[in-house]
């Protein structure tokens, strides 16, 4: 990292904290930067909790016929693991990065509604605590992260687990809707003078589109939760077959939320990648309008594919055909993105920083997850694999190999901006390789386990040929993965204390967040550079070769010339 300019040690680290010192300044803050950090820290906490739950499960599954956990405890753990990771780790960490960087990338002072932003965060935190209070109340929910009736209904779950589950998710869900509204309004009204919608950085684009997914999808979840609660607490009959209700209806409403939710958890990760890959390839993003357009296509298609989660619910051939075809279709815009990223790297001057290594591994792992995903669109294959470890492997390749890898890439990329210090590259490389090996050791083998018939969500399995050893490999991988998270946390702590000081723009990036100090002052910008194209800092650095001077910001035509003009 010799190309990083030296910056002297400031007298006061983290200047934005000194505005109002102390714990109260964090609790009472409405500043998007502090709230973004709170979101991220809280989701790291829940990531650790959910990770420990996963380790308990892997210990139980390490050997056949194990008795480490009781069946009930196992059910509670996989339910809480899934719910925690989805609602309390992945979603909020992406919202947190969005809250921190959307205003910075568009040159704004804060989000459109700072206090609403604060409300969203506190609803998320207390919703999460409410969910975890179920352990204190005596029984955690046991119905899986989608908590289907009748498993989640009164005669089958007598504790209060599902009630806390529904209440906790409703509280975080309302916070997420408010967050989604805030994203949309911020992106539409607070862009710096001169910045058109088609010039927003790609991460801001995905956060903006994510806002629509949040406001469109979360209300379905809230409706399903309200009905489930009415069933459990008020004796209603929505999903209770004894009273004439239909438990399949819950599945429809839940997945009308649940599939857009999948994209809520991946679109901002796509955005992070679209920032990291161009900067470390030293080329503008290939096909900006294709990346943005495919994001919008995903927004609409994601509401039309949900029933592919329900092929085993016997919907009939017409439904199966429609949703199978739609599910194959949604792979197209996602594939477009993969190709634009590869084309961005193609011929670029790639710098393999830790951030870029995570981004590159995303391309590989997410593609594997995407390919197994398309196989589910073929209904007979889905029937065969739906309730097996094949699905578990697929989903973790998309969520961990995809989203988590992108979030790590984004973290190494933006950490200097958020804290004023670089994350250590040495620890970072260890972190990357441990994550990459640990992840693949844990989950790749689960594809095979699933295909040979190991059912998911069962607390143990018989001692069949090969099952024990494959599960043991998976368990060892899980511990490696947990160790990699530890390495990451050590890296963060060490770098915060004595990491290299970061300059304003350590990666020589082009978007507006790098135009201010690291970390940014409370008001974000003293002065904005003129914005005439998609890369204002490039324009500033190369006044004779500004993006807007060409008729089209088309890397196809200008990629070669452009590269030769830099470095």
């Amino acid at each position: 990292m010799s190309d990083i300019p030296l910056v002297p040690e400031p007298v006061k680290p983290l200047p934005f904290l000194s505005e109002k010192e102390g714990l109260l300044s964090w609790v009472a803050t409405v500043d998007h930067k502090l709230l973004g950090i709170l979101y991220i820290l809280t989701s790291v906490f829940f990531l650790l909790v959910g990770g420990i739950e996963a380790l308990f499960m892997r210990i139980q599954l390490g050997t056949p016929q194990n008795t480490f956990l009781s069946p009930t405890a196992y059910n509670q753990l996989f339910t809480m693991h899934g719910t925690t990771m989805i609602f309390l780790a992945v979603m909020p960490v992406l919202i947190g990065f969005g809250v921190y960087f959307l205003p910075l990338q568009i040159g704004a002072r804060d989000m459109a509604f700072p206090r609403l932003n604060s409300m969203s965060y506190w609803l998320f935190l207390f919703g999460g605590l409410l969910l975890y209070y179920s352990f204190v109340s005596g029984s955690a929910p046991q119905g899986g992260w989608f908590n289907y009736p009748t498993l989640s209904e009164k005669p089958y779950e007598t504790g209060l687990g599902s009630d806390y589950w529904a209440l906790g998710l409703a509280v975080t869900g309302i916070g997420s809707v408010a967050g989604g509204i805030n994203f949309i309004v911020t992106a539409l009204t607070l862009r710096a003078p001169g910045m058109r919608l088609t010039q927003m950085p790609m991460f801001s684009w995905t956060v903006f589109i994510n806002g629509f997914l949040l406001i469109g999808a979360l209300p379905f979840l809230n409706a399903a939760l309200a009905m489930l609660l009415a069933d459990r607490q008020l004796g209603a009959h929505f999903f209770r077959v004894q009273g004439g209700g239909d438990s399949t209806l819950y599945q429809h409403i839940f997945w009308a939320f649940g599939h857009p939710e999948v994209y809520i958890m991946v679109l901002p990760a796509f955005g992070m990648l679209s920032e990291v890959i161009p900067v470390f390839s030293r080329k503008p993003l290939f096909g900006y309008s294709f990346v943005a357009g495919s994001t919008v296509a995903i927004l609409f298609l994601s509401f039309g594919v949900y029933a592919h989660h329900m092929f085993t619910a016997d919907l009939g051939p017409v439904w199966n055909f429609f949703f199978g075809a739609a599910s194959a279709l949604i792979a197209v815009p996602t594939g477009v993105k993969i190709f634009t990223w590869i084309a961005t790297m193609w011929g670029g001057k790639i710098r393999f920083t830790t951030s870029m290594m995570f981004a590159t591994s995303f391309l590989i792992l997410f593609t594997i997850g995407g390919i197994t995903g398309v196989t589910f669109a073929i209904v007979p294959i889905d029937w065969q694999t739906h309730n097996s470890y094949y699905v578990v492997a697929h989903m973790h390749y998309v969520l961990f190999g995809g989203t988590a890898m992108a979030v790590y890439a984004g973290t190494y990329y933006w950490f200097p901006k958020m804290t004023g210090r670089m994350l250590s590259e040495k620890w970072g490389k260890w972190h990357f390789w441990l994550t990459f090996i640990g992840f693949n050791a844990t989950f790749f083998i689960q594809h095979i386990l699933g295909i040979i018939g190991m059912p998911r969500r069962v607390y143990t399995y018989p001692d069949l040929a090969g099952w024990g050893i494959m599960n043991l490999i998976s368990t060892i991988g899980a511990f490696l993965l947990a160790f990699s998270v530890l390495v990451f946390l050590i890296n963060v702590v060490i770098s915060l204390i004595k990491g290299e000081r970061a300059s304003d723009n350590p990666w020589d990036a082009w978007t507006l967040e790098w135009a201010t100090t690291s970390p940014p002052p409370i008001h974000n910008f003293d002065q904005l550079p003129p914005i005439k194209g998609r890369r204002p800092l490039w324009d500033l650095k190369y006044p004779n070769d500004q993006d807007w001077m060409r008729k089209e910001n088309d890397p196809m035509k200008n990629g070669e010339k452009r590269r030769s003009s830099e470095e």
């Binding site: 409405v30 205003p103 040159g107 704004a108 002072r109 804060d110 989000m111 459109a112 509604f113 700072p114 206090r115 609403l116 809707v177 989604g180 509204i181 949309i184 309004v185 539409l188 009204t189 607070l190 862009r191 710096a192 003078p193 406001i215 469109g216 999808a217 979360l218 209300p219 379905f220 809230n222 409706a223 399903a224 309200a226 009905m227 009415a230 008020l234 004796g235 209603a236 009959h237 929505f238 009273g243 004439g244 209700g245 239909d246 209806l249 409403i253 009308a256 008001h523």
Partner: protein, 226 residues
């Protein structure tokens, strides 16, 4: 609190103020007259309400779909036609729909900078909404006396959930209207323009429109076409 102190407090609390600079500049830069769409786009509060109402549409959409789904499947036990009193609810409905008109008059008073008229129409709107809620309470107690409850059958389940959530939205609207009336009486809206007030009135119209749909679906169709 004196007017000065209130101004100072508002300035202090208005943290988003700086953030709106870019928007103001854009508004000044655009020379052409604004289309209604641009007017919404340039006002964060109104945009917030529009997007919030879109999300409400998803929520009520799910509940309404559930109601229709179970109606289509046939319901054992008392149903809308036997259980509900069309005439009584129609009267209370008239009050709710009328309140959409009175809040329109409040909007007009706002533009004309007539503080007394503004407060008057806001209070009238709130009172009419309150009458509707009282009517809903009377209807609920009659039904419960007839042993038609949430746990009786699928009609009870869907009816109470759907109208109950609508009722809660009306109550939230009543709170918002009361706050608006109070602020109007204190002179907050003398400038003749308030995004907050416009946003609340849009919310109130939305609650009315949802009720028109529910009333048609639950009362009108079963009574006359059932």
């Amino acid at each position: 609190m004196s007017t000065d102190a209130r101004e100072a407090r508002r300035a202090e609390m208005n943290l988003g103020k700086d953030a709106t600079n870019a928007r103001d500049m854009m508004a000044q830069n655009s020379q052409s007259p604004q289309t209604p769409f641009q007017k919404i786009l340039l006002d964060p509060s109104k945009m917030l309400m529009v997007i919030f109402l879109l999300s409400e549409l998803s929520f009520f959409g799910a509940l309404i779909t559930t109601y229709l789904y179970y109606q289509a499947g046939g319901i054992k036990g008392p149903n809308a036609k036997e259980a509900l009193n069309f005439g009584q609810t129609a009267i209370f409905t008239a009050f709710l729909l009328g309140s959409s008109g009175t809040i329109f008059l409040a909007d007009r008073a706002l533009v004309k900078r007539n503080r007394r008229a503004l407060v008057f129409w806001l209070v009238v709107t709130a009172v009419m909404g309150l009458i509707f809620i009282v009517g809903q309470g009377i209807e609920y107690s009659t039904l419960i006396n007839d042993n038609i409850t949430m746990s009786r059958n699928l009609f009870g389940t869907t009816f109470f959930t759907l109208t109950g959530f609508h009722g809660m939205h009306v109550i939230a609207g009543l709170l918002a209207l009361s706050i608006m009336a109070l602020l109007a009486a204190l002179g907050d809206f003398d400038s003749g323009h308030s995004s907050a007030l416009t946003a609340v009135s849009w919310y109130w119209h939305f609650v009315d429109v949802v009720w028109v749909i529910l009333f048609t679906m639950i009362y009108v169709i079963p009574t006359f076409f059932g």
